[in-house]
């Protein structure tokens, strides 16, 4: 009866002593700030900052002098401000961003030219053919972007066959942007009400070709460029692009676009009063 008790107790005691000395001897001295910073980070460990996990980010943030390039897209400006205060550093305030899907080539806007019967993967399909709609720039809808999202912020709409970003969940980590073989998803500036204006098309073909495969393609007509009072729209390779830093969300371009390729989100409906004023303007052109 006694022997087991003594043996077990002495083993326990021996191990405790060894552990005590080992922990003394091999103690890693770390800046306690790292722990504190890590506490404040969102703990998503998504890698959106470019470092493997929040801990590594915290370590780099605390240890390096130049923190200009460090940004936690998930925490956003608030968290960055907090950790900067804590670490006594200055960070530039970056605008909050959100992923935007720049394709609107759903089944109702395109004609089916082929039916794909391979492994369900956009990246594989991209090396096989142009796309079921015939648009060699548009979204396949096979959803490579869905599983890479750690925040359940993107899903494929069954009706349109296109990915939809849930702006509430999206942290702008950029994983979907990286995986998309056709660079359709972009991180764009957003604001509290999530008001955005963007060109929902990436087709660089000439207008006629683009229009042939998709009703709502950007045909590169340039009307929006002229309509923009803030010089925020560029036209490269037959494709309009709205620079979000310059865009003042005036919504003038949206009305101009003949193919409705420019999308606005979460704006209140246009006031009926304004409409009679605006309508003649459009009609004149």
């Amino acid at each position: 009866m006694f022997f087991p008790v003594i043996i077990l107790s002495s083993i326990g005691l021996g191990a405790a002593i060894i552990l005590f000395f080992v922990s003394k001897k091999f103690k890693v001295i770390e800046n306690p700030l790292i722990d504190e910073v890590e506490e404040m980070l969102p703990a998503a460990n998504c890698g959106g900052c470019g470092y493997p996990g929040c801990r590594k980010f915290a370590q780099v943030f605390v240890e390096s002098d130049d923190v200009e390039n460090l940004y936690c897209p998930v925490g956003g400006g608030d968290v960055m401000k907090q950790i900067a205060e804590l670490a006594g550093k200055i960070v530039a305030v970056q605008a909050q961003k959100v992923a935007v899907v720049r394709c609107n080539g759903s089944c109702e806007h395109t004609n089916k030219q082929a039916s794909y019967d391979g492994a369900v993967s956009c990246r594989l399909a991209d090396s096989t053919f142009a796309g079921e709609s015939g648009c060699s720039f548009g979204c396949f809808g096979y959803g490579d972007c869905v599983p890479v999202c750690d925040f359940d912020a993107i899903y494929i709409d069954e009706q349109t066959g296109l990915p939809v970003v849930s702006t509430e969940n999206c942290t702008a980590c950029g994983k979907c942007v990286d995986i998309c073989p056709r660079d359709i998803i972009e991180l764009r500036k957003t604001n509290k009400k999530d008001l955005k204006i963007f060109v929902s098309c990436v087709n660089k073909d000439k207008g006629a070709l683009a229009r042939k495969v998709c009703e709502v393609a950007c045909i590169g007509c340039g009307k929006c460029v002229k309509a923009c009072p803030h010089d925020a729209i560029t036209m490269v390779d037959n494709l309009a692009y709205i620079i979000d830093d310059k865009c003042k969300l005036c919504r003038k371009c949206v009305l101009e676009c003949p193919t409705h390729a420019i999308h606005e989100t979460n704006f209140p409906p246009r006031k009926i009063k304004e409409e009679p004023v605006k309508k003649p303007e459009v009609a004149e052109k």
Partner: protein
Amino acid sequence: MNTSVKKIFTVSPSPHIHSEGSISAIMYGVLIALIPAFAMSLYVFGLGALVVTATAVVSCMLFEWLIQRFLIQGKLTVFDGSAALTGVLLAFNVPSSLPLWMIVVGSFVAIGIGKMSFGGLGQNPFNPALVGRVFLLMSFPVQMTQWPQPLNGDFFADAVSGATPLAFVKEGLSKGDSISDIVPQLPHMFQMLTGGIGGSLGEVSALALIIGGLYMLYKKIITWHIPVSILLTMFLFTGVLNLVDSQEYMSPFFHIFAGGAMLGAIFMATDMATSPMSPVGMLIYGVGIGVITIAIRVFGSYPEGISFAILIMNATVPIINKNVRPRVFGAKK
């Protein structure tokens, strides 16, 4: 654009053709290969064999369907033949006199725990039929080792219990008898080859099992590596023992024809999901099974050890697969 309806073609990456092979073709191929052994067991054990097999097949398929339909709510693959095959193999591993409710329990363990809990077909690390069998053997040792003696065609006669040749030898040796005392009381080698020895359903006739194995080889369902390496290892191992002391150890021929050796080597160990994928790996696996089987038979307390041997080697398959790789073309030799 022309207004005629454009033909929509299918687009896919190559290859655009596929061989005739499919999972159900493989499963039904194995089932066909089991027909001779089943016919033999019908002849030897009478209707009991049919009842046991039918119960196992039906309950295995039923459990698979229930689990897929209500628990996993995934694709139904009941009719691809794999559940039926598990049922037949389970039945072949039990005595024909086993109470039917035990078979149902065994089927549940085989399909539910042995197969579906790991994710279904192909994902199971252990051979499901053997999981079921070993579960039954552990839980109901008495019933699982009461072997009805062969009826040899007399279909409706009452079964008489007795020992299998392996158990008989083991018992004799433990009593202190020498091999030369035991051998005359054993069935003749020819009888063991063709059938008519006591034992579980499937193991009565080595010859019928070999015919089935040849059919599977011909159909390219299995390769020679696993069965040959198992049997050869058993033969060599027992051969050496027999040379050392022929009064203590049975002859190698007895060992490869007795008990579940043939059934295990040809049908159980070759289960695709639980055996290595490369030829060299298969040989390692086969040798392992052979050695462990004989070790259990000769030195262990169970008269038969192939089920355990296969399950143990099943556990090593991932390691074998990981370490035995084919040589990449052009790699330095």
